[in-house]
């Protein structure tokens, strides 16, 4: 039996934390000029956390090792970008071949909607289209296991990228030239640059958590542990794998749509395999099979990569002594060393397969203290 606080205490703590975070974000949003960097990094972190959690749903909970994330994010990003882009910018963006007439009139008919509604619709449409692709691709691909599945989905994501950049689609996706003028999070009235992505993330992640706790989630875990045993227990293998794949792709595409809104301008090259690896990295660092881990991992990796380590790129002189090695690009070396350390010493990631719990968090100092006590007592005596 796991130790924990009673439900009422947990709920109160969570509510207080949620309200605290809400007001913190609300306050930060108003500090755009001073805290721009922090805001950008929080945005990117939370967007990647959605992608990481949905990847974890597949890899950590259903045992399907898929590497198609970048492809689904590309679908989400392009659909969102195309729908949300204002009609007035179309001619400037599609400056080479123009936009296909059908698409243009579709956009014109949509332009009567207010911006927030249009963006919501755009994100959902991106998710749905990605889900349809996932359903179709899933039929042949999900029959494969482990590495083979990874390779097949990787291939799919590369195909998506190639198709988007194909000159034949110039009038729809703008081919090589990419999309521009995608509205940002705060386009609907100056606020929301943090609350919108965080709100979407909370909704998506809550859904995934509820799914994992439902009977479907238990079926996913059964499949992860042993496919044959699960089948013998009456779990429809294909149906459940397909379900996990579609839902994961849906949310991955939503995070892709948010990424498009974050970047404001996208092209197919932004969705290369490295994007998938970034997300995989977050999942592994956070802990495969831990939702909390994926979220923490997303924030940790993004903050480290984009901010905390940035000073490694700057030359530094202390008392006339030029510190060696500090130069552009060194940041990534340090980052890689960090990764190796984490993978070597925390082989299960930061969280293993545990989830966040108030009890563990609040008892953390006590546990450290207990660990110290178990050391040979002589040291403690000596300290006193």
């Amino acid at each position: 039996m796991k130790k924990n606080f009673p439900a009422s205490v947990r709920l109160t703590l969570s509510l207080i934390a949620a309200v605290g975070v809400f007001f913190l974000l609300f306050w930060l949003e108003g500090q755009r000029t001073e805290q721009g960097m922090l805001i950008s990094i929080l945005q990117k972190s939370v967007i990647l956390s959605i992608a990481a959690v949905s990847m974890n749903l597949l890899t950590g909970f259903t045992g399907l090792f898929s590497l198609g994330q970048a492809g689904f994010m590309a679908i989400g990003a392009y659909v969102t970008g195309l729908i949300a882009m204002p009609v007035s910018s179309v001619d400037n963006v599609f400056y080479v071949s123009g936009m296909a007439d059908g698409l243009r009139s579709f956009k014109e008919s949509l332009s009567v909607l207010p911006t927030p509604l249009l963006i919501t619709l755009a994100l959902l449409a991106g998710g749905l289209i990605a889900a349809i692709f996932a359903a179709l691709v899933g039929i042949p691909v999900l029959r494969l296991k482990s590495d083979y599945l990874a390779i097949a989905t990787l291939g799919f994501s590369e195909i998506v990228r190639a198709i988007i950049a194909a000159p034949q689609l110039d009038r729809i996706t703008n081919g090589s030239y990419g999309l521009k003028a995608i509205p940002g999070f705060d386009s609907g009235g100056g606020r929301g640059s943090l609350l919108i992505p965080f709100g979407v993330a909370v909704a998506c992640i809550t859904f995934i958590v509820l799914l994992i706790r439902s009977s479907y989630g238990r079926a996913f875990k059964a499949i992860r542990e042993d496919e044959i045993a699960a089948e013998a227990m009456g779990i429809g293998l294909f149906k459940h794998k397909q379900l996990a794949f579609i839902i994961s792709s849906f949310f991955t595409a939503i995070s892709g749509g948010l990424l498009a809104m974050f970047m404001r301008s996208i092209d197919a090259r932004a969705f290369q395999v490295t994007l998938t690896y970034d997300i995989l990295l977050i999942v592994v660092i956070g802990g495969i099979g831990s939702i909390t881990g994926s979220i923490v991992g997303a924030f940790l990796v993004t903050f480290a990569k984009e901010w905390w380590l940035r000073f490694f790129d700057q030359p530094l002189v202390i008392n006339g002594f030029k510190v060696p090695l500090l130069r552009t690009g060194f940041r990534m070396v340090v980052f890689s060393i960090f990764l190796m350390l984490i993978v070597l010493f925390y082989r299960k990631g930061l969280m293993g397969n545990r989830e966040f719990s108030w009890y563990r968090l609040l008892s953390w100092p006590a546990r450290i203290g207990r660990r110290k006590k178990s050391l040979p007592s002589g040291d403690e005596e000596a300290l006193k």
Binding site: M37, S176, R264, A268
Partner: protein, 422 residues
């Protein structure tokens, strides 16, 4: 237990390292309470401007948004060198009778569109007054949205894609555009007697595809025929398949704008397949490493570019070339990364962009980014190394001349200038 001890030791060592390097962070991310106007310099600023600040402790920051790693790292660095040279030459500016030291805040956007927004944001957070960059149109476009939102003007030295400045009142550029460059190269190809042309472009790259497309249109308009239009993927290293198609089409000229890394492979493989056609490309190819890597195969490759170091008609250019060569020779790292002491056009543009930024600061007489932007709109800078610079309503430099260079005996030789009337 042993393992935990090890982890702790490592963590402590890292913490020490972080602590020791702590003060450096202030140079990149200025504390929030600093106002953009006239912030004071952190005590241990930078080693970039090698000489000490001549007067006062007022500092104005100019952001440099360049790729120094990644696909375009080489060209980005050359452009950065031009800007650094500018900073060495003009380290201060007078605002309201006070001398301000100009500090460059450099950030690497890694030639990557996904990295660009945060790199751009980090410049904004450092309270820069104006921004120079970037090499490569895609990252400029990505950063442009951030600069526009933050209302900080940016000056692109060599981003030639029309999209960079369109729809963006805060982006300016000191070079010509791809439609112009495409037209110039098409005209040049026709002058050389080419009837049939093949175009090879990189899929998913707006610079390459855009320029290829403009060439294609201009060449057709000039009465030529396009016999092949081939595309390749980013990071592709084997071009035999598309080159075989090109060979079968028997073009007189191949126009293949692409990045510096792919160029030598493409040239070499074309010649190995026995393609005799003249190979042409845009401004990116003006990089000595292409010639060095493609060796004898590169002979005869022609490109259009912004600047020629042997152009004696422009006194500003003459002074720049002499000074810049000295600057390069003074630092072995610069020299090796630049591939000798040749003066690349992008270095000249990086220098010009810096000078234009300084002029705009002088004219605005303020460190306020919006005032500097307004000053840029009407700026008329006559002493540009690459020609006089003033901006049209899009923020593009009004330039009507391109330099054609050709590779001869392993080096770029100036061939002629081409002017295109409106």
């Amino acid at each position: 237990m042993k393992k935990q001890a090890l982890v702790l030791t490592l963590l402590l060592a890292l913490a020490l390292l972080l602590g020791a390097c702590g003060p450096a962070t202030t140079t990149t991310t200025a504390s929030p309470d600093e106002t953009p106007a006239g912030s004071t310099a952190p005590p241990d600023s930078q080693d970039k401007a090698t000489e000490p600040a001549p007067a006062g402790d007022k500092v104005i920051k100019i952001g440099v948004f360049q790729p120094t790693t990644g696909e375009n790292g080489g060209g980005g660095f050359q452009e950065l060198l031009g800007t650094r040279y500018g900073n060495e030459k003009i380290p201060t500016v007078e605002i309201n009778g006070e001398t301000y030291k100009i500090e460059l805040v450099e950030v690497d956007n890694k030639s990557d569109r996904t990295e660009a927004p945060i790199a751009a944001q980090s410049l904004i957070s450092s309270n820069v007054s104006v921004i120079i960059g970037s090499y490569g149109s895609a990252v400029s476009i990505a950063g442009g949205e951030i600069f526009k939102d933050a209302k900080v003007a940016a000056i692109a030295p060599s981003a030639t894609n029309p999209q960079v400045t369109r729809d963006n009142d805060f982006y300016f550029r000191v070079c010509f555009l791809d439609p112009f460059q495409g037209t110039v190269m098409a005209a040049f190809a026709r002058e050389e007697g080419a009837e049939k042309a093949a175009v090879i472009t990189q899929l998913g790259d707006d610079y390459s595809s855009g320029l290829g497309n403009f060439f294609l249109k201009a060449f057709k308009d000039a009465g030529g025929e396009i016999v092949a239009d081939e595309k390749f993927q980013t990071n592709q290293t084997d071009f035999k398949a598309i080159l075989t198609n090109v060979k079968a089409a028997e073009p007189d000229v191949i126009f293949a704008p692409s990045s510096i890394t792919t160029a030598p492979l493409l040239i070499q493989q074309a010649r190995e397949l026995g393609i005799e056609a003249k190979i042409m490309a845009g401004d990116t190819w003006e990089n000595q490493s292409i010639v060095d890597n493609a060796r004898e195969h590169a002979e005869g490759v022609s490109i259009s570019t912004f600047f020629d170091e042997n152009d004696v008609s422009n006194t500003a250019a003459k002074d720049f070339v002499v000074g810049f060569k000295e600057f390069l020779n003074g630092n072995p790292e610069y020299l090796s990364k630049n591939g000798g002491d040749g003066v690349a056009a992008v270095s000249a543009l990086g220098y010009d962009a810096y000078c234009v930024a300084v002029e705009a600061i002088k004219k605005a007489n303020s460190t306020d980014p919006v005032a500097i932007r307004d000053a840029l709109v009407t700026l008329d800078y006559a002493d540009g190394v690459t020609g006089a610079i003033s901006f049209d309503e899009n923020g593009d430099a009004k330039k009507d001349m391109a330099y054609i260079k050709v590779v001869e005996d392993g080096a770029f030789k100036f061939l002629k200038t081409v002017k295109v009337g409106d």
